[in-house]
């Protein structure tokens, strides 16, 4: 086994373990840390395939930024499920296991039988810097997605602010909203009362009419 192989297995093991941590650690805080670990491990794998740019971006985004945002969120919401007794897994987790195993089996199975279907080019990575070609690609060939990504990020930012901020007017709006709900609820109750009264009056023979909404 070459160094390359050893390094891969090491990073892969870390990534898998960290991923398991993300899905399996009861404490959300720990899961967020695990996510950072997984991001870093994957970033290192990017380095293994010789892509420094991706490595850098991955470490920045998934190693740092995303876990940080999530950690903040976790802190804001209190870290863990409110109901400690019910555990961190939803009640349907056996189904989830089944589905996940199915997914894994499907993907791994296909990968296993598809050893030679992948496209092979003549581009030799070794000894060549990829950052420059990557930059060319991103800014020339993929200029449109790049621009759109910028718009996407802008949207996300504006959206996060718009959704996340707590406005002065919010209480007022909330009161109006509560009034709406209250009114709907009241109308519903009244209607149900009327329905009951009508059903009581009506002889059983013409119960067919009760069907009408």
């Amino acid at each position: 086994m070459s160094v390359n192989g050893i390094v891969f297995y090491a990073f892969a093991a870390v990534a898998v373990v960290a991923a398991l941590g993300v899905v399996g650690l009861p404490e959300l805080r720990h899961a967020a840390y695990a996510l950072a670990g997984m991001g870093a491990a994957v970033g290192l794998l990017f380095l293994l395939v010789g892509n420094e740019l991706l490595f850098a971006v991955q470490i920045l985004v998934y190693g740092l930024a995303v876990p940080a945002v999530l950690l903040v969120a976790v802190t804001l919401v209190g870290g863990r499920s409110r109901d400690q007794g019910a555990g961190w897994l939803s009640s349907w987790w056996p189904v989830a296991v089944l589905v996940a195993v199915g997914t894994g089996a499907l993907l791994l199975g296909v990968v296993a039988v598809s050893g030679d279907v992948w496209v092979r080019g003549d581009y030799a990575l070794d000894g060549k810097a990829v950052t420059q070609p990557m930059g060319d690609l991103i800014f020339k060939r993929y200029a449109l997605p790049f621009g759109v990504s910028a718009v996407l990020l802008l949207t996300a930012l504006v959206g996060a602010v718009a959704i996340g901020r707590r406005d002065d007017l919010e209480d007022e709006l909330e009161a109006a909203e509560a009034a709406r709900r209250h009114r709907e609820e009241r109308m519903r109750r009244r209607r149900e009362d009327r329905e009951r009264a009508r059903a009581a009056q009506r002889p059983a023979a013409v119960a067919g009419q009760a069907e009408g909404e």
């Binding site: 067919g208 009419q209 009408g212």
Partner: protein, 529 residues
């Protein structure tokens, strides 16, 4: 029209010489000189009026009155168009061709299978158009006193009329389905809103059966369009193409099932007495008198024209259904105490006669079948309207609780008798020529079935008479002492209907050349034309 008839009588009675049947004299005026927008105008005028009514207010009495007037206008315009067209055709003896007033425009051409905006009437649809438009006009009058949501009522009624008239005029499969299904929702709502106590369930059943029928019809038409290799839904084209037996049989059964649901044919009929009994009188008259005739029309227009192989192959099965239908109708009529249900069962029995004609596939029988549709439409329609007036007065439709009403309402009783005798095919009323020709035509093909249908219809007769006797004759009853006879309005719309039934019975010969012209094109398909 009648003038020329009397002239003919006098001319014939004056001599003792052999008379020859009047042969159509070729005329030089082609039918196409008539404005070809006629049918479009006929179909959509009622819809246009409906749209106008939609925007009229209905708060005050005057406003409601205006709505009624508009409703009458919306129903009368198509009737005038139809009468004009009929008169034109009577004078022309359909010499201009099988289909007249034809309008054909390419509609959808981007698709592999084209759809045409193709309208036209032939000898089968024109008389039925008369039935439809007259009945709708009468229904508007019959609903004159309706004070609950008149706007919606008339809008729905006029939309229904558009659907019915469109179905009768459509000469393209998609247009046929379009109009065929278009009447579904208005009639569903008409039952569900203005009906009796069980209206919602009845409406629901009506709807579901109607939808299934539409789906089956669509399947049949798609099959036809695909398999006939004509790349068009147009009846003209698709009908001329021979299909393989398997396809023809499949399409045949699909279309038969579609129409059997709505005809209705036993055992698919169970929704029908329900719907007729629960709907308000004008609506039940329209549904039973007009809408259900569309399926009989469809049997001729689609099943027989497009899938003649199936008609030939499964003729006997259809005849069996016809026999079962008449007898079942009789038994049901005998077994019910509700006048409207009784009328519905009578109608089921009579429409089975149409099925018999279809199974026979003979021109005489089919002529009789078309006449029977008219007679049944006018007769049952009249009776259902009368049942409405009766229920309005006596507050019940239970035959066993009624009696001796002739003392209070002699005029209405007279109309009941005319309607009843029309329905049972007494000479000189509309049903007579129909049944006679139907039996005469069908007998050579299905002897025993014809005999059994005849007996079944005879028994239907008995039911009608028995009902009339129980309801109207006997001692006057105290409970009904305050009942009044027909009002002027009621006479205004009921008497013309009865008159039409009588006229149709006296002079079926005026319509027969027209009808036969349409029937011949159908029969020619059966005979491999």
């Amino acid at each position: 029209m009648t003038g020329t008839l009397f002239h003919a009588i006098l001319a014939q009675t004056g001599t003792g010489l052999p008379t020859t049947p009047t042969t159509p004299t070729p005329t030089t005026t082609p039918a196409s000189t008539f404005p070809t927008i006629l049918l479009t105008a006929l179909i959509f005028s009622s819809m246009a009026i409906a749209v106008i009514i939609l925007f009229l207010p209905e708060r005050t009495r005057d406003q409601r009155g205006r709505i009624r007037i508009m409703g009458l206008v919306g129903a009368a315009i198509p009737m005038l168009f139809t009468l004009g067209g009929l008169n034109f055709q009577v004078s022309q003896e359909f010499s201009g061709g099988t289909v007249s007033f034809e309008e054909k425009h390419a509609w959808v051409t981007s698709f592999p299978i084209h759809i045409d905006y193709h309208l036209g009437v032939d000898g089968i649809s024109l008389p039925l158009l008369l039935l439809s438009t007259v009945m709708f006009t009468v229904a508007v009058l019959a609903a004159w006193k309706n004070e609950t949501r008149p706007r919606l009522f008339f809008v729905l009624l006029l939309l229904l009329e558009t659907g019915v008239n469109g179905t009768l005029c459509a000469l393209d499969g998609v247009m046929f389905v379009l109009f065929w299904a278009m009447e579904l929702v208005p009639s569903f709502l008409l039952i569900a809103i203005w009906g009796g106590t069980g209206r919602l369930r009845a409406a629901q059943r009506y709807l579901v059966y109607g939808l299934i029928s539409t789906a089956l019809l669509l399947a049949a038409l798609l099959l036809l369009a695909f398999k006939s290799q004509q790349n068009s839904f147009d009846f003209d084209l698709t009908n001329t193409v021979g299909l393989t037996p398997a396809i023809a049989f499949t399409g045949f059964w699909l279309s038969v099932a579609a129409f059997a649901i709505r005809l209705p044919v036993v055992p698919l009929h169970t929704w029908m007495p329900d719907a007729v009994a629960e709907a308000s009188p004008p609506v039940s008259a329209i549904i039973s008198g007009v809408v259900l005739k569309l399926s009989a029309y469809g049997l001729l227009r689609i099943t027989m024209s497009a899938f003649p192989l199936g008609v030939g192959r499964f003729s006997f099965v259809l005849a069996v259904f016809a026999v079962v239908g008449t007898w079942w109708g009789f038994a049901g009529a005998l077994g019910t105490r509700d006048i409207k249900r009784l009328l519905a069962y009578i109608s089921i029995g009579q429409m089975s006669g149409v099925l018999l004609a279809v199974s026979a596939g003979q021109s005489i029988a089919l002529n009789g079948a078309v006449l029977l549709m008219l007679a049944n439409g006018f007769g049952i329609g009249l009776l259902l309207l009368l049942a409405g007036t009766l229920e309005e007065r006596a507050r019940t439709r239970d035959i066993t609780r009624l009696g001796g009403l002739v003392w209070q309402m002699p005029r209405l009783t007279a109309l009941w008798i005319v309607g009843g005798l029309t329905a049972i095919g007494v000479p000189f009323l509309a049903g007579f020529a129909a049944e006679f020709m139907l039996f005469t035509g069908a007998f050579p093909v299905h002897r025993w079935a014809t005999v059994l249908v005849m007996v079944g219809l005879l028994l239907n007769t008995g039911c009608v008479l028995w009902m009339l006797q129980r309801v109207f004759f006997g001692n006057a009853r105290e409970a009904f002492a305050r009942i009044k006879d027909a009002s002027t309005l009621e006479l205004f719309y009921l008497v013309p209907l009865a008159a039409v039934a009588v006229l149709l019975g006296l002079f079926p010969g005026r319509l027969l050349p027209i009808i036969n012209n349409g029937v011949l094109s159908v029969v020619s398909r059966i005979n491999g034309g």
